[in-house]
Amino acid sequence: MAARRKITLDRRKVVGQLLKDRGDLLLVTGLGAPTWDAAAVGDHPNNFYLWGGMGGAVLTGLGLALAQPKRRVLVMTGDGEMLMGVGGLATVAVQKPSNLAICIIDNQRYGETGMQETHTAHGVDLPAMAAGAGFQTALTVYTAKELSAAIPVLHSQPGPVFIDIKVTDSPQSMTLPPRDGPTLKHRFRENLLGQI
């Protein structure tokens, strides 16, 4: 169990800062708030949003990172989504994709279903689990200063890297990106590969 510290970071601001200088980053978002966050700070054809498939965000990022070893792939998902697919940390750690970064926007809540507490609210330490799986870099971020230090790690440190960003559970506006699956798939592939 990790030491508890005061949570002050605002998730929307965090995501805005994360994606501000995204370059040619490929982004996979987990269902719920991380998908709304990414859409709110700016829809992009290099974003693939999950609207379902809970537990699949990190693994989708893994398949993409293996197929595109020269491109940086960031998976941004929630603590509940990560917990549902937590075995995926072992799968990623064994593959050791140097271009994959995982970022948990951790509000310690199931935000879409009534803000019930997730296991991280009770001290479950996702970075410790990632480290246990074999991630060389697995950090928790609580402050703006720590966030500034974490952003270059997510964008360019050889992966796989895992960063859990503790954010407040204050409500945010919902910004919905396109939801049609084939549309999201086609625009992503067209932009990346020049074909659908």
Partner: protein
């Protein structure tokens, strides 16, 4: 003899997967897939992805397709129970998905705990929108996988090839 049979169809299936330009092979092991998994690991052009649960494979292969690579998911019939919700992602996005499922819980099964999922496998897949090709004749496995790969990658569909327990063989409890 059973061992030889197993190796033979696996070699042909592997050739078919190579011809279909499969570059990622995700798997949770089954005895029936032993040879295929070994070949996948030995092939430098293929990324073998060992999974902790079969549902991971559906997402891995969705990501692979987003990145321009085709893949295949190998599992035992018990694993079909683990992939159901994740199939919704492949279904909604029309990600091609090729699954090779070796059957348990049917022909000569000795373990009663394998029977419920084995007996439910085909109908559960079909209820989830997966096209199912079942094969019980070793000489027809490779051509069935070839047809399934075409339907998956060119037809843009989820396709499962169920390889009957009669082909894979009894598990000998005495060994």
């Amino acid at each position: 003899m059973a061992t030889k049979k197993k190796t033979d169809w696996s070699k042909d299936v592997f050739k078919v997967l190579k011809k279909a330009d499969v570059q990622q092979i995700a798997y949770v092991p089954d005895a029936g897939h032993t040879s295929l998994i070994k070949m996948a690991i030995a092939d430098n052009a293929i990324k073998p992805v060992s999974l902790t649960s079969e549902q991971e494979g559906v997402a891995v292969l969705a990501g692979a397709w987003l990145g321009g690579e085709a893949g295949a998911l190998l599992m035992q019939s018990s694993g079909v129970g683990n992939v159901i919700n994740m199939l919704g992602m492949a279904n909604e996005c029309r990600f091609p998905l090729l699954m090779l499922v070796t059957m348990r819980g049917e022909w000569g099964e000795f373990n009663p705990w394998q029977v419920p999922m084995g007996q439910a496998t085909e109908s559960v897949l079909e209820a989830s929108g997966v096209i199912v090709h079942r094969v019980d004749e070793p000489s027809e496995i490779a051509e069935t996988v070839e047809a399934a790969a075409k339907l998956a990658f060119e037809g843009g569909r989820m396709v499962a090839v169920l390889i009957g327990q009669r082909v894979v063989g009894f598990k000998d409890w005495t060994k």
